[in-house]
Symmetry: C2
Subunit: 355 residues, 2 copies
């Protein structure tokens, strides 16, 4: 049974928690805003559900509450940040802010971050840029969960790629892992004790595996087998493309930022991740209002195109998320019972008012 | 039966043809170099096999031999080029050259091109940058062949994304369409009269279709049905991610360059395509030799990781291509009989020496 919590109450709770964890009020607001964006967009795996994960990382010292991310190298179009194991949301938001400012000054800004930590939904950061009329990318490496094409050892992370471009009535907002599914989906099937569809994971012998509980356990334990790349097993349905995209994300994050690589990280989410942010101003290519109108027109062409029998809508990436946000702002956010118990446990432990 | 033609002979033939078509000698060399790179990398669909396609486009005036691509807008980090319907290889190579020069001067260069034409393999252009120590992306829209998730009307192109980063012994070279397979693969199955695997295409009713001849015909005729996005049908195996990546490519090409959009183009390959090139210098983030060594080390980790039973190698993107190149430089390039007849027909028509 889900409990409905208002947007305002859940946000205030998260801010209370992160302030009590030791973050300055503006930083607590930033972290809460990233998590709230996930819950508002109905990406529950990355919202309140992750509070316990962050709480444990802070308690263990894996995340350093006192860390001040440092710019170690900079040009007018770029920067390299060492986050010194700060909360990922803080280093990532600061890095994207810097990329936006550089893009406004020069046309383009690229900022890489190393020694960061789990930064929430990748799509939060390009949306910051789109709100200011810019186009932007965001990527991160994570702990290893994906096997290479023809491999059975987890060597690549979820390695998401997000991109956002201004459009009306909602931006084009794309945020996708380069795995066929995220670990979160495997967890959901494991919790519900349901078999997974074939083609999501392979076991230690390289056999397609539908047993979610077994795979969830083996992935968290770092055993052989893992989640397949986007495109699935082998090359028949182009699994090598998802594998290649994941390496590209690793190249632009762990390698370029000279941080840890996915297979060098502890845990499925990854402890010391690296990020990549790129923002550019469409005004360097033409009238931004015309480019925005053209993008909006193209997205509408997609929505209006011929549907499959039994389907009355074609969605464009981001549409479902913004519709969920409008609904959840009005009606509140459903929080799962297990998550609610976790939030109450955190509140009790820290001595703050529960949600 | 394939005929083996030496690299030197095939290249010289292509150069003769393009000179006779009316291109200046350096331009003929550039076009031939892009096509030869495809044949050397064993991407036969984009090499000599495409000579007849280009020949027809030149004859019909769809490609303008006299066109001089024009820079219509420029900043130190960016440019917008109007190709005036030049050969795609010429506008693309000039645009990537400009992006490389800007990246060397400022750290990063982005160049968009509109009113171009089919530019060959997307991966040719980032490889130009990698040879000079830079990292680079290349993307293009094409004529419509892909259906949206939940749709049955072709609204998106092959829309490939290519990325290259220096590494040893071979660069990381990724070049992938955002469809589950290219139209070229459907053509190969149609020629061989073999059924395709399920999950590549859907027919006019939205049913998965294995009939390659039917689908090849209906795609070329612009009828309902088409090739599925990377990830396949619906959302179960994340077809919406391939669909989203394809829209991202369209956003960065047709929309940003303010050219034609895929569904507005004639023909499956697309007549008046737009391109996107981005190059950056890894030196803005650290010692380029160290970054290159780290990338090489990561790729070797992937190759050395645990293999599936029955597989003795894990490849990294580009490895197969560079191995094919070494072999074909030594042993020559296999040319299919049908292609050889086409090359001879072009030679006879233009009055140049055949291959």
């Amino acid at each position: 049974m889900d409990t409905i919590v208002s947007e305002k109450a859940l946000r205030a709770f998260m801010e209370r928690v992160f302030e009590k964890e030791g973050f300055a009020a503006p930083d607590a607001r930033t972290i809460a805003d990233v998590l709230m964006q996930a819950d508002l967009f109905a990406i529950e795996s990355h919202g309140a559900q992750r509070m316990m994960y962050y709480h444990k990382n802070i308690a263990s010292g894996s995340v350093n509450v006192q860390a001040v991310p440092e710019i170690v190298r900079q040009t007018p179009v770029s920067a390299l940040m060492d986050a010194h194991f700060a909360m990922g949301q803080l280093s990532a938001a600061a890095a994207m802010r810097l990329a936006i400012d550089k893009a406004k000054a020069t046309g383009v800004g690229i900022v890489c971050v190393r020694n960061s930590s789990h930064f929430g939904i990748a799509g939060y950061y390009p949306l910051m840029a789109a709100r200011e009329g810019l186009c932007a990318f965001s990527m991160t490496n994570t702990g290893p969960i994906m096997v290479p094409t023809f491999g059975r050892e987890m060597m690549l992370g979820t390695n998401p790629l997000a991109f956002c471009m201004p459009a009306d009535p909602v931006p084009f907002w794309f945020d996708a892992s380069t795995t066929v599914v995220t670990l979160g989906k495997v967890e959901v099937y494991a919790k519900r004790e349901k078999p997974m569809p074939q083609g999501w994971t392979i076991d230690e012998n390289g056999e397609s595996c539908a047993d979610a509980q077994k795979m969830n356990r083996s992935i968290l334990a770092g055993e052989m087998g893992g989640i397949l790349p986007l495109g699935g097993e082998g090359e028949l349905h182009s699994g090598h493309k998802g594998y290649g995209l994941a390496i590209m994300v690793e190249a632009l994050t762990g390698v370029l930022a000279q941080g840890l690589l996915s297979p060098e990280m502890q845990g499925a989410h990854g402890d010391h991740t690296s990020h990549f942010f790129l923002a550019f101003d469409p005004a360097i290519f033409g009238d931004p209002a015309e480019i925005r109108a053209q993008m909006s027109r193209y997205l509408q062409m997609l929505r209006s195109s011929e549907k499959l029998p039994g389907h009355d809508r074609i969605f464009t990436p981001g549409e479902k998320a913004f519709e969920a946000q409008a609904r959840r702002m009005r009606e509140g956010i459903p929080v799962e019972e297990k998550t609610l118990l976790e939030l109450r446990a955190i509140a009790a432990e820290l001595g703050v008012e529960a949600v």
